[in-house]
């Protein structure tokens, strides 16, 4: 099978392709029902409303996806392989989109809510102003009085951001998909080519599964273990700048984290790690010692130096399958999901144009 990759060209204004009478509507399959799969499928449906049929295929659905383990905080991760202005654009689009939902009467159903808090540092050199500081709300350095709560930390940043609680957000996305006519099927896809007869375009949003599915060796897991506890008096988030210890209050539980174990594929909770996470979080917020109903979860962050957002053409014996990849978001999936979904939807639009171009050529 030959395959070649097409570099994405992002145009500012791509109007949705109009289906030509000769060509049946392109059949699009989105593989993966985590945050990326669901939000990408939704964006494709929104951008290409009447010109293609969309089906979502996945082996796992909420609450069993990697996205369900994450706290869903909009605090970006920096991808070394992507220009900062692009990451900033993705974050801005995502924040704007979710901000509007949080302000609407759908907020509670979608699980989107504002949360304020602090990012604290032991080393002043780490406390640089991040690229996203003007996108979150009210970003400023912490005052001396605020820092007194954290005697082991010398600097900090206070801001207000958004949190996407899962499962609610994923379930809300599924509901929106169905309202947009997207079919959803449980199916394990072992090879993208197996879809070439039923679909014209496949959008690959399988996250960590891409290591197996497409053999991407640049993709590796960073294992994260978290605790979800009942501590409803915790209203502010606290994040240690080292990214290892954090307390994120959600709607029904507080997520305590965490770990960053490179190349670990182990999905079983480790009891020693549980105790370590609990102790680290209690040292930042002592009242957590009274937390109840502790549940332990493990997720494998689909890590990569940059998100793989590109087209690919698979062909074998004259048959073709157009692929759009959208995976490898690592720790930053929630922060950029709408932005990368937007870009993936553009790529799908390009694929549709290619298909229509081929079909008109075929007519000649």
């Amino acid at each position: 099978m030959r395959s070649y990759e097409v570099l994405p060209v992002r145009t500012l204004c791509l109007s949705p392709p109009v289906p030509t009478p000769q060509m049946a509507a392109p059949r699009v399959a989105v593989v993966g029902a985590g945050l990326i799969g669901l939000s990408t499928a939704l964006r494709i449906a929104e951008v290409n409303p009447s010109c293609c049929s969309i089906t979502l295929l996945s082996e796992q659905f909420s609450p069993n996806t990697t996205s369900d383990v994450a706290a869903g905080m909009l605090i970006p991760h920096t991808y070394p392989g992507t220009p900062i202005h692009v990451q900033k654009q993705w974050f801005k689009e995502t924040f704007t989109y979710l901000f509007a939902i949080s302000n609407s009467d759908e907020a509670s159903e979608a699980g989107i809510h504002l949360v304020s808090g602090w990012q604290i540092f032991k080393n002043p050199s780490e406390a640089e102003v991040p690229f996203w500081s003007d996108i979150v709300l009210g970003f400023r350095p912490m005052s001396a009085a605020e820092l007194q709560k954290f005697p082991q930390h010398s600097h900090g940043q206070a801001f207000t951001t958004l949190k996407c609680d899962c499962p609610p957000y994923l379930l809300w996305l599924e509901k929106r998909l169905k309202a947009n006519g997207v079919q959803i099927h449980t199916r394990k896809v072992t090879d993208l080519w197996e879809l070439h007869r039923e679909y014209d375009i496949v959008v690959n949003c399988v996250g960590i599964g891409a290591r197996q599915l497409v053999g991407d060796q640049q993709l590796f897991p960073i294992r994260g273990q978290v605790l979800k506890v009942h501590a409803p008096w915790v209203k502010n988030f606290i994040r240690d700048g080292d990214g290892l210890t954090y307390i994120y209050p959600g709607i029904d539980s507080v997520t305590l984290g965490g770990t960053r174990e490179k190349e670990s594929w182990c999905l079983s909770p480790d009891p020693g790690t549980t105790k370590d996470i609990f102790d680290r979080c209690c040292s930042l917020e002592p009242s957590l010692q009274r937390a109840q109903d502790i549940r332990v979860k493990v997720g494998l962050r689909p890590s990569r130096s940059c998100v793989r957002l590109q087209r690919e053409v698979l062909s074998q014996g004259g048959a073709k399958l157009l692929v759009v990849h959208n995976y490898g978001h690592g720790s930053g999936g929630f922060s950029v999901h709408r932005g990368t979904a937007e870009e993936a939807a553009h790529l799908v639009g390009e694929c549709i144009a290619v298909l229509q171009g081929s079909s008109s050529k075929a007519k000649l």
Partner: protein, 438 residues
């Protein structure tokens, strides 16, 4: 010598013990004991022997006569004042006996209905005393924040918004709360109709947890609780109470008329809205404090309010007020429409132009007794409670000191005039005194 019903010519409560004290000192070598009394009117407490004698003398047995302090009222003001008094005096005044009297205990007090947000009114109207008490309260509570028992106290940090329709001066408490700043334009987009505002981090102190916490602490220290309505100050004094601390809140007028004290009725709806993590308090400068909608998330329920009715004594929930609160809060935060309503409650804020925190002597001469008033905290009782408790305790300290001096003076005066037998049966001396006698 000594029993209470021995025939003495003077009926003062203080006569017997002090007279005995003087007699014993005459019988002993006063220099080695360094007591100082009766000539100096003061017993040097630094001396162990002196204090033994002092204690031993106050009653006709080894037990000192109790100094009974009664706190009336078991809301946040009464219980915190009682605890502060106990903290401050139980070691200095071993005979201190603290008692709490109330007809309503948690969860049926006014304090229990309040959301529990620490936030003073917008302006202190130049009442710097009250600003200081607010600050003392905030700092006192901050000290508990990093202890696990903060949870039992119902104490936690919370951030949020104060919203206005026009620019306003910064409040007196801007440097007391944490991280006070103005709202950015993007934040104001969240609140159509409001063009100016503040963001800060403050404290929540939920009385449904705090009052039981205070009660447990008091009970552990042996403070007695009495569930009954006190009808008058005289009732207390006739039972042998030495000092009354009046923390009766809105019903202080029943013990002593006070036209300055008026109810400011409030009503709240408590809903299940756990996605709300910030307090949102709107202000309408024309209508006045708390008459504009507010949303305050607690540890379990979110409190919706915005009712402030001067002069209304009705503690029943009003359907009209319910509608007003619900509509205005849902307009402020549309997502509340999906919230489940769990409870409704009305209460009477004990409003007064300023807090009444002062001593008053009741009666005359030997029957003079002291009341210390601590009521009239309006809608900021939780915010100001600990500062007021400490101020009340200071006043009590003055009272106790005066009582001590008084008793020396009156006893000395009495001793100089009264006749008493020059020698008392030896066996009736307390043990400690016997040990020190030749």
């Amino acid at each position: 010598m000594g029993t209470r019903d021995s025939t003495s010519q003077v009926q003062s409560r203080d006569f017997d013990p002090i007279a005995q004290h003087r007699v014993r000192l005459q019988a002993l070598d006063t220099q080695t004991l360094d007591c100082g009394a009766p000539n100096k009117l003061r017993c040097t407490r630094g001396s162990v022997e002196a204090s033994k004698i002092h204690r031993g003398c106050l009653e006709n047995s080894a037990e000192p006569r109790a100094m009974r302090i009664a706190v009336i009222g078991a809301g946040v003001i009464g219980l915190s004042t009682a605890l502060c008094i106990h903290d401050r005096f139980h070691a200095l005044v071993p005979q201190l006996q603290l008692e709490v009297y109330a007809d309503r205990f948690t969860p049926h007090t006014t304090s229990d209905g309040a959301a529990g947000l620490w936030q003073p009114y917008l302006s202190d109207h130049g009442n710097l005393q009250e600003t200081l008490w607010n600050k003392e309260t905030f700092e006192h509570l901050l000290g508990y924040l990093n202890l696990p028992e903060a949870k039992e106290m119902g104490l936690f940090l919370i951030s949020g918004y104060n919203l206005f329709k026009q620019p306003v001066p910064d409040p007196s408490w801007k440097n007391i709360v944490l991280g006070f700043r103005n709202l950015t334009p993007k934040e104001l987009e969240l609140f159509p109709g409001y063009s100016y505002g503040w963001f800060n981090t403050a404290l929540m102190l939920e009385c449904r947890s705090y009052l039981p916490w205070l009660t447990n602490r008091l009970a552990q220290r042996g403070v007695k609780f009495f569930h009954r309505k006190v009808e008058s100050f005289e009732e207390m004094f006739s039972q042998g109470i030495d000092v009354v601390i009046n923390c009766t809140g809105i019903r202080a007028g029943e013990l002593q008329p006070d036209p300055a004290l008026q109810p400011a009725r409030g009503q709240v709806i408590k809903v299940l809205a756990p996605w709300v993590k910030h307090f949102i308090i709107t202000h309408d400068m024309e209508s006045g404090i708390y008459s504009s909608p507010y949303i305050i998330p607690g540890s379990e329920l979110t409190v919706l309010g915005g009712i402030y009715q001067q002069g209304n004594w009705n503690e029943e929930n009003s359907a009209q007020d319910h509608k007003s609160i619900w509509e205005r809060c849902c307009r402020l935060l549309p997502t509340l429409q999906k919230a489940e309503i769990v409870q409704e409650w009305s209460g009477l804020r004990p409003a007064r132009p300023s807090v009444r925190l002062e001593r008053e002597s009741i009666g005359h001469g030997r029957l003079r007794t002291e009341v210390i008033h601590n009521y009239g905290h309006g809608g900021f009782g939780i915010t100001i409670h600990w500062g007021c408790a400490m101020a009340t305790a200071r006043l009590l300290g003055n009272v106790l000191q005066e009582k001590q001096s008084q008793s020396r003076l009156s006893a000395a005066a009495i001793c100089q005039t009264a006749e008493f037998p020059p020698s008392w049966p030896r066996a009736t001396y307390p043990k400690e005194v016997l040990e020190n006698m030749d």
